[in-house]
Each structure stands twice: as C-alpha cells, then as structure tokens.
Symmetry: C2
Subunit: 145 residues, 2 copies
C-alpha cells in the first residue's frame, strides 16, 4: 500500500488544491515511517510571497512537527522538480530522500553544478510524471484560453 | 549619507542582534529609494527552521510591505554571501541589486554554475567585509571556548 505512487498521489491531491485556488499546481508531502507528517501546496499568489512553494512550506511544517531542524529519516514527495530555492531548503534540512514527479527543465535545480542536493540525500525521479505534468499543462492551457 | 557602507552597517546591527540570541550572526536589510523597508537576522535556532535565514525573511517582509512578489527597485544588503536557498529566493523576487559583506566559500551561492542569480540583478561584494567576517569569527571563537 505505502508505495511511492501512493504518496505521490497525495502530493497530486495537494497540487489539485493549488490549481483550484488559481495557483500553479505543485504539491508536496513529507513522509516519515510511512506516516504523512506534512503536506503543502503552492501559495505564492495568494500569499504574494515567492517563498511560498509547496516544498519549503512542507519542510517548515515537518521540522515544526518533529521539533528538529533536520529530516534525515524523511522522504519528500513533490509533483514537480524543485527549484534552486527549494533544493537549498532540502539541503539544509538534510532530507533523507526526494521523490519527484515531473521534471522542470527551465527552473529545476538539476541543471546546476556541482549538485545542489545534500550528498546524503537519495533521489528518485519520474514517479507518476505524466499525471503531474498533465495537471500543469491543463492549468496553463486554461490560463491562456 | 546613504552609502553602501551606511546600509551595510544597519545589516551588521541585525547580525549583532542574532549573535546576542546565540544565532550565527548574519543580518540583512532591504532598501528601496534610500528607505529601509525590511530588516531581519538569522533565527534558525530560535525557530528550529532551516528557512529562517536573514535574507529569506527580509524578502518576505519586503514583499508584504510593497504588496508585490517582485523587488526590482530594491537593494538587499547582507553581511554574508547568501546560500543556495537564499540565492533562489532572490532570483524569484527579481531583486534589483545585492550588496554582500563577507564571502562564504563553503556554503555560498557563487561556486555554482550557471549563476544562481537573476540575470537582471546587479551585484556588489566586499562592503565592510572585514567587519562582517570578524563578527562571525568572534561568534565561532566564543562557541568553541
């Protein structure tokens, strides 16, 4: 039951909530021992705040919940490849694992060298990538119509 | 009166407040038309939150004050070279100019390629660098003693 697809679907639900609010649909959940300890979705427009990305808010929520600045035993599931800012957040939090849905070739962290991620962070990409991408594509299609 | 040194001294005052709280002494101010619209200091320990860097909180405060996600007419003064996370924040905010005190060769943004900064952001480094560095050196000296 507790597969990567299962948790990515929860992140997708968060992304759908963002879309319903007119936000670019990106969602994230943080999981510790198969338990979701944080969930968040992009709120940059609603909060007029460039830092209100799903990943950043999920990390802040998870660290508050655990009472620790570090998340080595946690996995972040996020529907879109994190940006530079969020990669920096995940580095500082020393997150144990990152699972990404769709790639972001324009604003993603992966095109920078040396790697922005913490050397101890494990990485999985492409989980439900098509579903994650389709939500974004449909959002921008509606925006333009 | 309104020189880079003047505003960097205000950022240094913020760093000193951080040191008094037992936080790594980094301070930042954001200036718009010679007016300070945000000031902040590192609070990562007090808030148990890796995102509570001076620059990130200053950007959030400035964007709230201006009611805009973007800061193209603003200058950030920060006592230490921003990290990857904060460089990402400053990219998204499209900040007009960044003025840095001391370099951070270990955790600074500048060692990554391509540049993490927004192409329109102007950059000045080394303003009161010795004062900014000395505050950090003294802090870590005390911590070890």
């Amino acid at each position: 039951m507790f597969s990567d697809e299962y948790f990515m679907n929860l992140a997708l639900q968060q992304a759908e909530i963002a879309a319903d609010k007119g936000e670019i649909p990106v969602g994230a959940v943080i999981v510790c021992q198969n338990r979701v300890i944080a969930k968040a979705h992009n709120l940059t427009e609603q909060l007029t705040d460039v830092t209100a990305h799903a990943e950043l808010m999920a990390v802040t929520a998870a660290t508050h919940y655990l009472g620790s600045k570090y998340l080595p035993d946690c996995t972040l599931y996020v529907t879109l490849e994190p940006c530079v800012m969020c990669a920096g957040v995940l580095f500082w939090a020393q997150i144990g694992r990152i699972v990404i849905g769709a790639p972001d070739e324009k604003r993603g962290y992966a095109r920078f060298q040396p790697s922005l991620l913490h050397p101890k962070t494990r990485l999985t990409t492409g989980v439900l990538a098509d579903d994650c991408q389709e939500l974004l594509t449909a959002f921008f299609r509606r925006l333009r119509s």
